[in-house]
């Protein structure tokens, strides 16, 4: 006796229909909560902010890159991929027919072609004209407004995290630190100065950066020797390098390097909150 009943024609038909069901279900669900706008987000920071607010887009730009760089909040199942950030797929958008497109203003292009598909909420995402944190807060408010929900939880959550960081810095008065993300080659790192999210967070909380400001985008690729030559303690988002030089310097105790959980350094308020908490932990360990 097999544990499975023999397949009859009727059974096969039922199976076929049930296979179709998942494809039909979202349409039904869509009809039910018709009041929530069906929207798409075309850039990582926009997707992150929307998901952190608790609303999910229909489709978002470059899902693999989101998973790799942002990761949290996790992408819900069934999200469509709009493709590369600089070229969201127009034809897919026409098929999806969203009520609203939330896009970054740098994606506008001379023709603002997205506007021919649906109303577009153009939002500033790059920290070129004003600080990244201001932009992140603004994004949270505007996306919440578009989704007819409140951004207060997200904003106050971040404020609390920032206050914790300020208190940690005030109480421990750490020396100037380097904020870095080491690269895969083990010989270089991106070092964050003011103008980047990590750099602005540190400066805003009263901390001192060992690398003077360079303006946006505030991330300089530096060699390991240049980094160590500053003699400043290192707070690294992500793993530390394992090479001979770095290991010897750290083992000698002449310099502290603290690995922190990886956080997207160009993210929105959710990333900023996690980054502030990570920095608080790091400052405590220096």
């Amino acid at each position: 006796m097999t544990p499975f009943p023999p397949l009859t024609r009727r059974g096969a038909l039922a199976l076929g229909v049930s296979a179709l069901l998942p494809a039909l279900a979202p349409r039904g669900a869509r009809a039910q909560d018709a009041r929530a706008p069906r929207f798409v987000t075309s850039e990582l920071i926009l997707t992150e902010t929307a998901l952190a607010l608790g609303i999910s887009p229909l489709a978002a730009g470059n899902l693999p890159l989101y998973r790799r760089l942002v990761g949290v909040p996790a992408l819900p199942d069934g999200l469509h991929d709009l493709g590369p950030l600089n070229e969201p797929n127009m034809e897919l958008l026409v098929h999806l027919a969203p009520d609203l497109i939330i896009a970054a203003d740098w994606q506008r292009g001379p023709q603002a072609a997205l506007e021919r598909i649906a109303p577009v909420l153009w939002l500033e995402t790059m920290p070129f004209s004003r600080p990244g944190l201001e932009i992140a807060t603004d994004l949270a408010r505007k996306i919440a407004e578009a989704g007819q929900i409140s951004a207060d939880d997200l904003v106050t959550g971040f404020d609390r995290a920032r206050n914790r960081l300020s208190r940690a810095i005030a109480s421990r008065n750490p020396p100037p630190v380097l904020l870095a993300r080491f690269l895969e080659d083990g010989r270089h790192a991106l070092v964050f100065t003011e103008g980047s999210l990590p750099g602005d967070l540190l400066a805003g909380a009263g901390g001192r950066n060992a690398l003077p400001g360079s303006g946006p985008p505030g991330a300089l690729p530096l060699g390991l020797s240049e980094i160590l030559a500053t003699g400043a303690p290192i707070l690294a988002t992500g793993p530390l390098p394992q090479g001979a030089l770095f290991t010897r310097v750290i083992e000698s105790g002449a310099l502290r390097a603290i690995p922190l959980p990886p956080v997207f350094p160009a993210g929105g308020l959710a990333s900023a909150t996690r980054l502030a908490d990570a920095l608080t932990t790091g400052i405590g360990l220096i």
């Binding site: 070229e87 797929n89 098929h95 001379p110 991330a219 030559a229 394992q242």
Partner: protein, 643 residues
């Protein structure tokens, strides 16, 4: 005594090293070379970063110069280079794929995929060359096809994921930063082995220097020896590239400098010593300038090398033009197939406009998408037509079926013009971009032709000159990417050759300009019929040579610029479209020009349609799709050509 002058670059590098070390560690640096106190960070940096860096530069420089010297003798060409056989592109692709798919891989293992990629590219190039009978032209051509196609693949990957490829950009720019002795320890045995084996290559090299005929007479199989020696040299270079980074042109600069210093033809040992000195010197210079100019060693070397390479073309003496690739068979009694091709183009238009993929799979759609597809299809057609026309003009001009905007680096020069304009002005309007791109194409074409005329338009000379321009472009791009220049991402989108942003008005303007250029070219049809006969015959038949060449050059440059602005790299269309025209129609210019133009348009429309649908919802830019397909097409085509 003068032979000792080859030590000069190395000595200069050591003086600069002392200067750099003295700044970092006044008074204490000599001691720190040998030993560093564990708690003394500056001393540790010197001991475990600066000193290994100097040694790595010396080893890498010697190995690359040695490999270059060997290849130049194998190819009997003073500007052959390890990169000629595709290793840089192969290593690059493998490294990109590794960084994207295995981000957690330990740094010590990263050179392994890079080395494997380089060797795979080399194997592909050799296999292609072997299928046609190994000669120095087939080797260079195969290497170039492999390099360009892999370059296209890599550009797609980089474009989509440049946010996570910072390591790749630094490697590409030739950053020599070290974190211990790992790289040096891996390079040293390979270089030692190569130096030990080098004397055994002397006799075959001497025989190869007599030419293939001479070698055969002396009982040596020239093809086999070429493959063995080239493989050995390129493997060594591949190892260096994988372990340290991209240092283009070193193999060309080193023999040149050695000859200039000693005043005679240098031996392999002398070239290796000079190469070591040059790389050390360049690297110390970069460290000295670092506070003011954040340039990496490989970039500095490439900038110097490209200039030298183009200048050097003057001095080489080349055999007469070789007509090796008109190889698609010519019809005995050619039937004009213009109408058939036009019909095919119309059918392609229909497919490209009506069929596409949506979230639920393929659909034959509806007018709904026409709005979105018309500008893209029209833009692709305009660009392809322009490239087809440019290729046809250049082949007529040089009498060489390999002449085309991509292989001669004209499109690279056009792109360079665009890049420089954007970086210097920080954006700029359409007019400026068109102007800069046209100017770049024109400068590139004049430069290549000036060099090419001295070489009597031989295929090898033209191809290598084109390679120099392409490498210059990649060096400049690598520098921008490695420095995290805020415009880098935007530039890559431009250079990717996407039809995404083409407005209908742009496409219409480009189509009209291309049609006008075709019309002008048709007015020159008598000149274009005579030019391929060579300067002497043409002059005898009453051709005003200078005026004719200048007019055709300007037309070809304008056509290349039109295409480059719209879709970036021509993706072999400038090479393939004229080949199709030769297959389809009579050899008269009045027939070939429209045929090449139409074939070009059809190919690019096809590439755009494939690019939009193959990876839906991701879109592979038309220019890159054309490059990938064109590369595969050329490989098959080369492979099928009887020896």
């Amino acid at each position: 005594m003068r032979a000792l002058l080859i030590l000069l670059p190395g000595l200069a590098a050591l003086v600069l090293f002392a200067l750099n070390a003295g700044t970092a560690l006044p008074g204490r640096w000599p001691a720190a070379i040998l030993w560093a106190d564990p708690g003394d960070i500056p001393a540790l940096i010197l001991h475990l970063s600066a000193v290994p860096r100097l040694v790595t530069a010396a080893l890498a420089g010697a190995a690359l110069a040695l490999a270059g010297a060997l290849l130049q003798r194998v190819f009997r060409n003073p500007i052959a280079e390890p990169a000629t056989l595709g290793i840089t592109a192969g290593a690059q692709c493998a490294l990109t794929l590794t960084l994207l798919n295995a981000p957690g891989l330990a740094p010590a293992w990263l050179p392994l995929p890079a080395f494997a990629g380089a060797l795979a590219a080399l194997a592909l190039a050799l296999a292609l060359a072997a299928l046609q009978g190994v000669s120095s032209l087939t080797l260079i051509l195969s290497g170039l096809v492999v390099t360009t196609s892999l370059g296209g693949l890599n550009a797609v990957l980089t474009l989509f994921h440049h946010e996570v490829l910072q390591s790749l950009f630094l490697w590409q720019a030739g950053a020599l930063e070290q974190e211990g002795w790992t790289s040096a320890a891996r390079l040293a045995p390979a270089l030692a082995l190569a130096l030990m084996l080098a004397p055994f290559a002397r006799r075959p090299l001497e025989v190869l220097a007599l030419g293939d005929q001479g070698a055969r007479v002396l009982g040596l199989a020239p093809g086999g020896w070429r493959v063995i020696l080239a493989t050995a040299a390129v493997s060594l270079a591949a190892l260096v590239t994988a372990l340290t980074g991209v240092f283009a042109f070193l193999g060309i600069i080193a023999p040149l400098v050695a000859r200039a210093l000693t005043g005679r033809t240098p031996g392999t040992g002398a070239i290796a010593v000079t190469g070591a000195g040059i790389l050390m010197l360049a690297d110390q210079l970069v460290q000295l300038l670092r506070p003011w100019i954040p340039v990496q060693t490989g970039t500095l070397l490439a900038l110097i090398g490209a200039v030298l390479m183009i200048a050097l073309l003057r001095k080489s003496s080349q055999p007469a033009p070789e007509h090796l690739l008109p190889a698609l068979p010519r019809r005995a009694r050619p039937v004009p197939r213009l109408s058939l091709l036009l019909l095919g183009l119309l059918a392609l238009f229909a497919v490209a406009l009506a069929i596409g993929r949506g979230p639920e799979g393929w659909d034959i759609s509806p007018l709904a998408m026409f709005d979105w597809r018309v500008p893209r299809v029209a833009g692709a057609a305009a660009a392809g037509a322009a490239f087809g026309l440019a290729g046809c003009l250049m082949q007529r001009l040089t009498g060489n079926p390999l002449a085309s905007p991509e292989l001669l680096g004209i499109s690279g020069a056009a792109a360079l013009g665009l890049v420089l304009a954007v970086v210097m002005t920080g954006g700029g309007g359409r007019g400026l971009l068109y102007g800069a791109t046209s100017l770049g194409a024109l400068a590139g074409l004049v430069l290549i032709l000036a060099a090419g005329a001295r070489l009597r338009f031989s295929s090898e000379g033209l191809l290598l000159a084109g390679l120099a321009v392409s490498m210059l472009l990649s060096a400049v791009l690598a520098m921008l990417l490695a420095s995290g220049h805020p415009r880098a991402g935007q530039l890559m989108t431009w250079l990717s050759g996407s039809t995404y942003r083409i407005a209908l008005s742009d496409a219409v303007i480009a189509l009209s300009v291309t049609a006008a250029l075709l019309g002008l070219a048709l007015l020159l049809r008598r000149w274009l019929d005579l030019l391929p006969l060579g300067p002497n015959a043409a002059r005898l038949l009453g051709l005003p040579l200078t005026r004719a060449r200048a007019s055709v050059v300007v037309l070809a440059a304008l056509a290349t610029a039109v295409g480059t602005i719209l879709t970036g790299p021509p993706g072999f269309i400038g090479l393939i479209a004229p080949a199709i025209a030769r297959f389809c129609g009579p050899p008269r210019a009045s027939a070939q020009l429209p045929l090449a133009t139409i074939s070009g348009a059809a190919l690019m429309v096809l590439a755009d349609w494939l690019g939009r649908n193959l990876a839906f919802p991701w879109q592979i830019p038309a220019g890159m799709m054309a490059l990938l397909c064109g590369g595969v097409f050329l490989m098959i085509f080369l492979a099928r050509r009887p020896a």
